[in-house]
C-alpha cells in the first residue's frame, strides 16, 4: 500500500514531534441551599482531558482522552459522565491536498450551515467523525468535501452529514494582476443530513404519521468584498423543510442572512452588523435540542461582555428559530495632539434584537413572516467604555451600559414577556505598586427595579460587586470578589457571593485554587476567563501545555 509505505518512510526519516495539553477542573462541593446550589451526593466531581498531537513532516495524528469522574462538574451536561477517547484523528498534507480521517472541526464561511467546533469551558464539543479532503486549485480556489457523524457525548449522531464547500479568492487566483485596492472572495456551500425514517405522530391529527424528509439539504452563498479600508461581508443560507423538535415539526423552509460592514483606519474602527434568521435550528438529529448535535452556528450580534455583572446577570441566548438583530460598534483613540501624553480609548456599542413578525397559518407550514418588519423586542444594549492611562502607574477603565431584556424570551424561561430595564456602571483600576507588583480593583453596580411578581428569584433587584486582585508577576496572584444581591425583595436572598482565589503561573502551566460561592456565568480571574456553574466549595484548576 502506497499510503502505509509513505508513512513508514516518514516515521523512519525523522522522529517527529509530540505536543499536547492537559486541563483538570475539580471541585469539592459543600451544600448551600441558600444560593440554590444543587446537592452533590458524591461531593467531588472532575472534568479532565489530555490532548496529544503528533506531527512528522506532512503527517499528523492526535487523540484526546477525557474523564468526567465521578461525574461532570455542575453546569455541564450529565451525559458526559464517564471516560474514554472521544477524539482521535490522523491526516496528511501532500502539496495542494490535505486529508483527515477521524475527528475534525470545520467551519464553512460564517458557519450558518456548518460549524463543528469545541468550546471546552461551556462543555460544548461537536466534531465530525469521518473523512475530510481539502484541495487547493490554481492557488486561489479552495475545495472542501467531508462525510461524517457528529460526536454525541460518548456516542455518535444518528444522522450522517455530507458537506461540500468552494471558495475562490480573486486576488490569490490572479496574483500578478493589479486590482488596486479591490479585494474579492466568493464562496458557496452545501450541507446535507441523512437520518433514517421514524414514526412521528402528526400533532394536528394523532392518528396520522408525519411524512419526514430523510435528507435535509441546506445551501449558502457568501461574498467578501474589500476596497481599501472598507470591508463588506455577506452570507445567505437556505434550508429545505426540516420538521424537528425545536420547530415543533413544521414544514416551513428556513433561511438565514448575515451582513457585516466595517471601516478601519489608524485610530478609528467602525463595524455595522445585521442578521435575520428564520426557522434555522440545524442539527445532525431532528429530535435533539439544547446544545447537543448542533450543526450550524448563528452568531449573537451584541457585545460579548466580560465584566461580571453585565455578562452574567441578564445574559442573552440566540433564538435560532426567529430573530432580527443588528449592532453598531465604534473604537476610537484620541490623537496625541488632542490629549497630550496618554491618549483615551473609546468603545461605543449599540445592539438590538427583535423577534420576527409572524402570522400562524394553522397548518403544518407553521407560520408566515414579514421580511423586514421587526416583531417583539427581545434585547437592547447600549454601552460606552473608556480606557485611560492616567500615569505610569495607573490605568482606569470605565463603563456605562443601558440594558433592556425580555428575560423570559432571552433565557428560555417562558413565552410571555418579562421586561427588565437596568443601568450598569463599572470602574476598573489597575495600580502598578512597584515593578512586578500590581493591584487591580473593580467596582460594579447594576441598578434595576425589583420584580415583585417574581419574589422567589435570587436574581431580582439591584446588585453591587467588588473585586480586588494582587499579582506578583510572573508567578503569583490572589483575589477576593464579592457579588452582593443587596436589593433582593426577600431579605434572606440578599446574599454575598464571596470567592477567594490564589494562583500560580509558570510558563505554560497554571494552577488555581478557589473557595467560595459561584454564580453561573463567565468569570475572569488571574488572567483567564471561563464559564463557571453555580455552586459552593473548593475548586482546583490546572492547565498546562507542552
Amino acid at each position: 500500500m502506497a499510503f502505509t509505505g509513505a508513512m513508514h518512510a516518514q516515521l523512519l526519516s525523522s522522529p517527529g514531534q509530540i505536543h499536547g495539553n492537559v486541563g483538570i477542573d475539580a471541585q469539592y462541593y459543600t451544600n448551600d441551599t441558600l444560593i440554590g446550589a444543587p446537592e452533590v451526593p458524591e461531593k467531588f466531581r472532575m472534568n479532565a482531558f489530555l490532548n496529544l498531537v503528533y506531527t512528522n513532516n506532512n503527517f499528523r495524528a492526535g487523540a484526546r482522552y477525557e474523564a468526567y469522574l465521578p461525574g461532570p462538574l455542575l453546569g455541564f451536561d450529565p451525559r458526559f459522565e464517564g471516560q474514554g477517547i472521544p477524539f482521535r484523528y490522523a491526516g496528511y498534507t501532500l502539496g495542494d491536498l490535505d486529508v483527515t480521517a477521524g475527528h475534525f472541526y470545520e467551519q464553512f464561511g460564517n458557519g450558518l450551515i456548518l460549524r463543528a467546533y469545541e468550546e471546552r469551558a461551556l462543555g460544548f464539543d461537536n466534531p465530525l467523525d469521518g473523512f475530510r479532503a481539502k484541495y487547493t486549485l490554481l492557488g486561489g480556489i479552495r475545495l472542501t468535501a467531508l462525510v461524517g457523524r457528529q460526536r454525541y457525548f460518548w456516542e455518535m449522531s444518528d444522522g450522517v452529514v455530507k458537506a461540500f464547500d468552494a471558495e475562490a479568492s480573486l486576488n490569490q487566483l490572479f496574483p500578478k494582476k493589479d486590482f488596486g485596492k479591490f479585494r474579492l472572495l466568493l464562496g458557496g456551500s452545501f450541507v446535507s443530513r441523512y437520518q433514517g425514517d421514524q414514526e412521528i405522530p402528526n400533532p394536528d391529527d394523532p392518528n396520522k404519521i408525519l411524512d419526514i424528509p430523510l435528507n435535509v439539504g441546506s445551501f449558502a452563498g457568501r461574498a467578501n468584498l474589500g476596497y481599501g479600508k472598507f470591508q463588506l461581508n455577506g452570507e445567505f443560507a437556505w434550508k429545505i423543510n426540516d420538521p424537528n423538535f425545536t420547530n415543533q415539526f413544521i414544514y416551513r423552509p428556513g433561511n438565514a442572512t448575515y451582513l457585516s460592514a466595517s471601516y478601519a483606519t489608524k485610530g478609528l474602527g467602525i463595524t455595522l452588523q445585521a442578521k435575520r434568521v428564520e426557522n434555522f435550528d440545524y442539527r445532525s438529529d431532528r429530535n435533539e435540542s439544547g446544545n447537543a448535535l448542533l450543526l450550524n452556528f448563528i452568531p449573537m450580534l451584541n457585545k460579548q461582555h466580560t465584566y461580571t455583572l453585565p455578562a452574567t446577570i441578564y445574559p442573552y441566548a440566540v433564538q435560532a428559530n426567529g430573530e432580527l438583530g443588528w449592532q453598531a460598534d465604534v473604537n476610537f483613540t484620541t490623537p496625541k495632539w488632542f490629549r497630550g501624553k496618554y491618549s483615551t480609548l473609546f468603545n461605543l456599542n449599540f445592539s438590538m434584537v427583535n423577534g420576527l413578525d409572524t402570522t400562524r397559518t394553522g397548518d403544518r407550514q407553521g407560520y408566515t413572516s414579514e421580511l423586514f418588519t421587526p416583531g417583539r423586542l427581545y434585547y437592547l444594549d447600549g454601552n460606552i467604555e473608556i480606557n485611560q492611562k492616567i500615569s505610569k502607574k495607573l490605568k482606569l477603565n470605565l463603563m456605562y451600559m443601558y440594558l433592556w431584556v425580555d428575560r423570559n424570551q432571552t433565557q428560555g424561561l417562558g413565552t410571555s414577556p418579562r421586561e427588565i430595564a437596568s443601568h450598569i456602571a463599572v470602574a476598573d483600576l489597575t495600580w502598578k505598586v512597584a515593578k512586578r507588583h500590581t493591584l487591580r480593583m473593580e467596582l460594579q453596580t447594576l441598578q434595576t427595579a425589583q420584580e415583585l411578581d417574581h419574589i422567589g428569584d435570587r436574581v431580582n433587584g439591584s446588585w453591587l460587586m467588588g473585586m480586588i486582585e494582587y499579582s506578583l508577576s510572573p508567578n503569583f496572584f490572589v483575589s477576593v470578589m464579592d457579588q452582593w444581591a443587596y436589593d433582593n425583595p426577600v431579605a434572606y436572598f440578599q446574599i454575598h457571593y464571596i470567592t477567594t482565589t490564589v494562583g500560580y503561573n509558570s510558563g505554560a502551566t497554571r494552577i488555581a485554587l478557589s473557595y467560595g460561592r459561584q454564580r453561573e456565568g463567565i468569570v475572569c480571574i488571574g488572567g483567564v476567563c471561563r464559564q463557571v456553574p453555580a455552586s459552593n466549595g473548593l475548586t482546583l484548576s490546572l492547565m498546562s501545555s507542552f
Binding site: 502505509t4 486541563g23 477517547i85 480521517a101 460579548q304 466580560t306 473604537n331 491618549s343
Partner: protein
C-alpha cells in the same frame, strides 16, 4: 529507538482494528517507546490554516521575521487580560522594534460573533501588530493552546523557544527581557 519496526506493527493493527485505531496506536506507541520524539524545548512553528484581516487564507508555516525574534500571541476581543497584555506591549513596542527587530503576531481566536470586529478593534487601538484570525481554532489546536491569552516566543531561526499561559500586569517585563536575550543571541531555557 525502542520502537523498532513501526511498519510491521502498523500492518498488524491495520488488519485487526481498522486504519484509525492503528494510526493512533502508532502515534501513541511512538510516544511511549521512543524518547527522542518527546516534546522538545525548541521546535518549529506548526502549519495551520488561518485568515488574514481581509479574509484570505494564510498558512502559518510562512510566519517569519528575517532572523529576528517574534512573539505569537493568542488573544480575543472579549478577553480583558489579552487586551491588557497587548496594550502593555503596545506602549513599548516601537522602542523594542528599534532595539531588537521584534515582530508581534497577534492571532485572534474570535468566532463569527466577533471576527468582523477584529480589524476595527485593532486599528481603533492603533496596534501595529501583524494580525490573523483563527475562527476554526486550527492554529490554536496545532500549538495546544488551552485558553487565551497564550504567548509564544520564536527565535531568529523560526523555532519556538518559550511559552506562557495567562497574563498578569507586569508579565510583559519578563517577556521583554527574553526578547532582548534572543536579540543578543543568548539561549533561553524553554518551558
Amino acid at each position: 529507538m525502542g520502537f523498532h519496526d513501526p511498519f510491521q506493527l502498523f500492518k498488524l493493527v491495520l488488519n485487526k482494528a481498522g486504519i484509525m485505531k492503528s494510526l493512533l496506536f502508532v502515534a501513541l506507541g511512538t510516544l511511549f517507546f521512543s524518547t527522542p520524539i518527546l516534546a522538545q524545548d525548541n521546535y518549529p512553528i506548526p502549519n495551520a490554516e488561518v485568515q488574514d484581516l481581509e479574509g484570505n487564507t494564510f498558512q502559518t508555516e510562512s510566519l517569519a521575521n528575517d532572523g529576528n525574534p517574534m512573539i505569537i500571541s493568542f488573544w480575543a476581543t472579549w478577553c480583558k487580560p489579552c487586551i491588557a497584555e497587548l496594550s502593555a506591549i503596545h506602549d513599548q513596542y516601537e522602542d523594542l522594534q528599534d532595539e531588537t527587530g521584534l515582530k508581534l503576531v497577534a492571532v485572534s481566536v474570535d468566532d463569527v460573533r466577533n471576527v468582523a470586529k477584529v480589524a476595527p478593534f485593532v486599528y481603533g487601538r492603533n496596534w501595529n501588530y501583524e494580525v490573523y484570525c483563527d475562527p476554526n481554532g486550527n492554529f490554536k489546536r496545532a500549538l495546544s493552546v488551552n485558553t487565551v491569552p497564550h504567548t509564544f516566543l520564536v527565535n531568529g531561526e523560526g523555532q519556538i523557544v518559550w511559552q506562557h499561559n495567562s497574563y498578569n500586569p507586569g508579565d510583559e517585563e519578563e517577556l521583554f527581557d527574553l526578547v532582548r536575550k534572543l536579540a543578543n543571541g543568548e539561549a533561553i531555557k524553554g518551558h
